[in-house]
């Protein structure tokens, strides 16, 4: 009995103990995305070669509960020293006391303006200080399946360029069974994926509206431009034209990968995934315009330093070096090659303007907008619910759109009231 008890205690001790390392060890966190994870591993190797006295531990989490893990770890002092976060979370992270400003001696205003797109320095600024730097940025484009175009009698090299064409093509590309069930989508309709960005920053603007005021405190999409016509356009594709619906084959990516969807709107980060699918012949084009207006949605993930790193000056120094290393043009090049995300450095980006794949995204970047999210998942939910209300409940788009604006305004108010 005694022996057993001792063993139990020993086991517990072993399980909770840490291994101490002689090098300066910093911990880096990002959410799990296969190509991103592998590329960061590769970059860490190179970084550790350049700085042999620093060791980087790389930890990934599923996207769905990334924020929960951050919130539970940093206040407990066990979390990361350098963290990869969505630029839209910066205000929340700063007000929660997770992030420290980037030191101005290393990351000066001049450095940011010369090395990054202007929407980047705007996106990482909060109360006059910079908090994070990206490796890459991303935008949206229209992916199409050339084989399915051919089968439908369309020119596989000519994707739609306007919304009218998009609808027309999507109808031709949709296939139904005898019962009228969709067995092949003309266009994926997945607000929970990139669809909500397409509605918010692209369709709203192409229909002449503006989604939010420039200080991101007030919702405007119900009051400007064509208002609820945006939602009507989107949901008509589902209920009237019946070219697709949310949840077909579970999600848009699965459907496009399985060649059961002819067109999808997705981000540059999907390129790596799609390249791996055998027998999938796809093209990528700029997002369709409407009445001559073009818009796109840009976003990025950035690396910031957490309050954890300030406990040890050596760690802080290592963290600064690591962030600078990650944002160097060399890292950006590797990132583009492996992950398919676009260089955040405009000079570097220009070199890829004529690229058959990246070109569409890079040209899109020129007229792209980055949404200032205060709570990305809540704001996404608002758009998902608006679409569901029309599609599943038969509520009029005007009402659903108005309710969405009210809901989202609540989310914004809630956030800004907590920021002092």
């Amino acid at each position: 009995m005694k022996r057993f008890f001792v063993m139990l205690v020993l086991l517990a001790v072993i399980l909770t103990s840490f291994a101490f390392a002689a090098k300066t060890k910093i911990t880096y966190w990002q959410y799990f995305y296969e190509t991103k994870k592998n590329t960061i591993d590769q970059l860490i190797k190179e970084f550790e070669r350049q700085y042999p006295d620093i060791e980087v531990e790389h930890v990934t989490f599923p996207y769905a509960n990334y924020n929960q893990k951050v919130a539970s770890s940093i206040p407990a002092g066990v979390g990361p020293d350098v963290i990869n976060l969505y630029y839209g979370w910066i205000p929340k992270y700063v007000t929660s006391g997770y992030l420290i400003p980037l030191p101005e001696d290393v990351f000066s205003k001049e450095y940011l303006q010369s090395q990054f797109f202007s929407f980047v320095s705007k996106g990482v600024e909060f109360n006059g200080k910079y908090y994070a730097l990206p490796i890459a940025v991303r935008s949206l484009a229209l992916f199409w399946n050339k084989k399915l175009f051919e089968k439908a009698g369309l020119d596989p090299e000519k994707p739609p360029t306007t919304l009218q064409e998009l609808v027309e093509y999507a109808k031709k590309l949709t296939i139904y069974d005898k019962k009228g069930n969709i067995v092949q989508e003309g266009l994926t309709m997945q607000p929970s994926g990139q669809g909500h960005h397409w509605i918010r920053e692209v369709l709203v603007r192409e229909f002449g509206g503006v989604p939010y005021t420039s200080d991101a405190r007030t919702v405007l999409y119900d009051k400007t431009g064509a208002g609820s016509d945006v939602l009507k356009f989107y949901t008509d594709l589902i209920t009237v034209d019946r070219v697709g619906y949310p949840g077909f084959m579970n999600d848009d990516v699965t459907a496009f990968k399985a060649q059961k969807a002819a067109m999808t709107i997705d981000g540059s980060f999907r390129i790596g995934t799609l390249n791996k699918i055998k027998g999938l012949d796809w093209g990528v084009a700029e997002l369709p315009s409407y009445l001559g207006v073009k818009s796109n949605f840009a976003s990025f993930w950035a690396n910031g330093i957490t309050t954890n790193a300030t406990k040890d000056p050596k760690k802080l120094e290592a963290a600064i070096k690591f962030i600078k290393f990650l944002s160097s043009p060399e890292s950006m090049k590797l990132w583009l090659k492996n992950v398919g995300e676009l260089p955040a450095n405009p000079e570097l980006a220009k070199q890829y303007f004529d690229d058959p794949v990246y070109g569409a995204f890079l040209r899109g970047l020129e007229y792209a907008h980055a949404t200032f999210f205060v709570d990305e998942s809540a704001q996404r939910q608002v758009m998902m619910d608006a679409v569901d209300k029309v599609v599943l409940k038969g509520i009029a788009p005007e009402i659903a759109w108005k309710e969405a604006a009210e809901e989202e305004q609540k989310v914004l108010d809630n956030f800004w009231s907590s920021v002092h």
Partner: protein, 295 residues
């Protein structure tokens, strides 16, 4: 006398660690949850402000909470009668056969011991839309219309109930079967001699004698359905309890409030309410069962 004292000391030595465990890991957290429900704590801020009953007032103004309560009651109202009626029927039929009884019982109880997460994903896979969902494909072959199942606000909750009934069925069958086998054969023989037909035997003898078991199962199954979470988290899009909150049960609401919005005060309030509901049901069981003993 010395022996008695020694025994008392031994008893408390044996009980020391377990008692500490129950105080620290069960009672203290329960009290702590009550306390949290009177605060506005958000996990991040260092201080917890006492706000009295405000959470209890506000939570009922939260549409999503009210929806979650209604959904939870729906899970119970659909699930419990379904699982009890079907399992009772199966047990009655099983009780009639002599060979392979154990074999059938074995097959029926398999879902019960399978990880619920795996079960959820298998059913989610079968519930998919055409052209990939198995059940919809079957419907199409039979010449019927395909159904939206998890994609619809009206069908998603019943679909999850079906999966849960499938899981819990075997457990109930085993218990009913054990109960049936304790019914003295003489009662039934005597009734037969008196000219009672099958139906009369069932309603006048078998079911009244099974009453305590039915109450027991009704209560344990009610609690199981009240605490439904894993299925909903895994079967709905992004674990959201959608579409449009139509499947969100109380526990998922608690999980989201506590670990996604970090609204610990509201989450604790919801757990206290859940606790209250379970208490009431358990007490009702005790009262009914105590009555039954005199039966």
């Amino acid at each position: 006398m010395r022996l008695r004292q020694k025994k008392i000391i031994t008893a408390y030595t044996f009980l020391a660690i377990p008692l500490l465990f129950f105080i620290v890991v069960r009672f203290y957290p329960m009290v702590y949850s009550f306390w949290l429900s009177f605060t506005d704590w958000d996990l991040i801020s260092p201080k917890k402000n006492f706000i009295g009953l405000l959470n209890y007032i506000n939570i009922f103004k939260d549409e999503v909470f009210v929806k979650a309560i209604i959904n939870t009651l729906k899970y119970v109202a659909f699930g419990v009668p379904a699982v009890i009626i079907v399992s009772l029927y199966l047990a009655l039929v099983l009780n009639r056969i002599k060979k392979f009884q154990g074999f059938y019982r074995l097959l029926y109880v398999m879902p019960y011991i399978t990880p619920l997460v795996a079960v959820s994903w298998v059913w989610k896979w079968m519930y998919q839309q055409p052209p990939i969902g198995f059940i919809n494909n079957l419907l199409t072959i039979l010449g019927l219309d395909s159904q939206p199942f998890l994609m619809s606000t009206s069908q998603a909750l019943p679909s999850i109930v079906v999966t849960t009934v499938w899981v819990n069925l075997g457990y109930c069958v085993i218990i009913f079967l054990a109960g049936l086998q304790t019914i003295p054969q003489e009662y039934i023989e005597a009734a037969k001699i008196d000219g009672a037909n099958r139906r009369q035997i069932l309603w006048r003898i078998t079911i009244p004698l099974l009453n305590p078991i039915i109450v027991f199962l009704a209560v344990t199954q009610s609690i199981t359905f009240l605490r439904i979470f894993t299925q909903v988290y895994n079967m709905t899009d992004q674990g959201s309890g959608g579409p449009l909150n139509s499947t969100k049960p109380l526990v998922l609401y608690i999980y989201q409030k506590a670990f996604m919005s970090f609204d610990m005060g509201t989450a604790a309030t919801a757990t206290v309410i859940l606790f209250g509901i379970i208490m009431i049901i358990t007490l009702v069981q005790m009262i009914i069962l105590n009555k039954n003993i005199e039966y």
